[in-house]
Amino acid sequence: MKPKHQRFLIIFLGLVGLGIAVFLVSIAFRDNLVFFYTPTDLSQKKIHPEQRLRVGGLVEKNSLRKHGQKVTFHITDHANVLKVNYTGLLPDLFREGQGVVVEGKLSEPGIFQAETVLAKHDENYMPKEVADRLKEKGLWRDDR
């Protein structure tokens, strides 16, 4: 084997090994790599009441209540629902049916005290007229 082939082989094997290592590490730390839990994750996990965490889901339709700066709404992953209390300004994209990530802690089981509300948008981009037409024709999927 020529030296350059040997070097190539070493680099190749090194990369394969590194890839496997990174893959295993990312599986082991899966829980810590997610940016937010879903309400279902939350109901299955034991969460310390003082632990700061982020929960993400869709804002449930007709659940938004505003009293001045105080806001309450429900977030859902279509399986479980979490009630959220928040005081402050909501981001522009915040609306019912929209994805949202809240940061804060559980004040009591099933009730989340949010300190930050982040709006999540999806990967679909289209002009308003197209979106309206899709809705008219009934082609709009709610999971968008």
Binding site: L15, V34, P91, Y125, P127, K128, V130
Partner: protein, 237 residues
């Protein structure tokens, strides 16, 4: 393997022809792309005009990844074949890649504030792109840390190749883990979820970025080539 094309003489010849072409096409694409991105394309149904940041953010991110891929290939040639011309290409591509990464991070954070409500969050996509910037920085620091550049380039090349593992992580981060960053629009299975009226400016801007990259790359590589030639002539290296 023979590298006839990688001889400096051929490189200068090809780039003599390629450089003005890339310059003109790049300028045209930038003009047409910016015009259609900012003026003629429609605003998004949800994000309104803020979505136009996508036209400069997405191509910058693609170029950042592309430059790193190129750097890794050049680094492989440096390490395996010890080809001196690969070193010139590698150190020419690195600062350009870092520039695109910075552009991607800055425009992304300017987009994130009005849409998400935060300039920065530590989700998997944003963090892995920040790691990409550190890889570019680490490459450069390692390259410059040795008194002799032939030593520096080998250490740096090894880092560049190890860092390749970050590319699939950046790409997959939005699919493998929950992130605040939305998943890919163009490369998902089935039809792309960007309306055709918005694909045109995105395509033009991507082409513009590509030509811009080519222009910078050719300038840097030729300068480096001439510098080395001079050093040899003066007997300094």
């Amino acid at each position: 393997m023979k590298f006839t094309l990688a001889k400096p003489r051929y490189f200068l010849k090809v780039t003599n022809f390629l450089f003005p072409l890339a310059l003109v096409l790049g300028a045209l694409c930038f003009a047409a792309g910016l015009y259609s991105a900012l003026i003629t394309s429609p605003p998004d149904y949800q994000q309104g005009d803020a979505m136009r940041i996508m036209y400069i953010h997405v191509p910058a991110s693609w170029m950042a990844l592309f430059c790193y891929g190129a750097l890794a290939v050049f680094s492989l040639f440096v390490l395996v074949w010890r080809h001196p011309f690969a070193e010139i290409l590698a150190i020419s591509v690195t600062p350009i890649g870092a520039l695109f990464t910075v552009l991607s991070l800055v425009t992304g954070s300017l987009w994130g504030k009005p849409m998400w409500g935060a300039y920065w969050v530590w989700d998997a996509r944003l963090t892995s792109v920040l790691v990409l910037l550190f890889l570019y920085g680490g490459y450069w620091a390692l390259y410059k840390a040795y008194a002799h550049s032939t030593q520096g380039i080998r250490a740096a090349s090894l880092l560049a190749i190890i860092g390749v593992i970050n590319l699939p992580i950046i790409k997959g981060s939005v699919d493998w883990w929950n992130t605040l960053h939305q998943p890919a629009s163009l490369t998902k299975f089935g039809s792309p979820s960007i309306h055709s009226s918005m694909l045109l400016p995105l395509g033009l801007m991507t082409a513009a970025y590509g030509f811009y990259f080519l222009v910078l790359f050719i300038i840097r590589a030729r300068t480096e080539l001439h510098k080395r030639k001079l050093l040899v002539q003066e007997g300094l290296s």
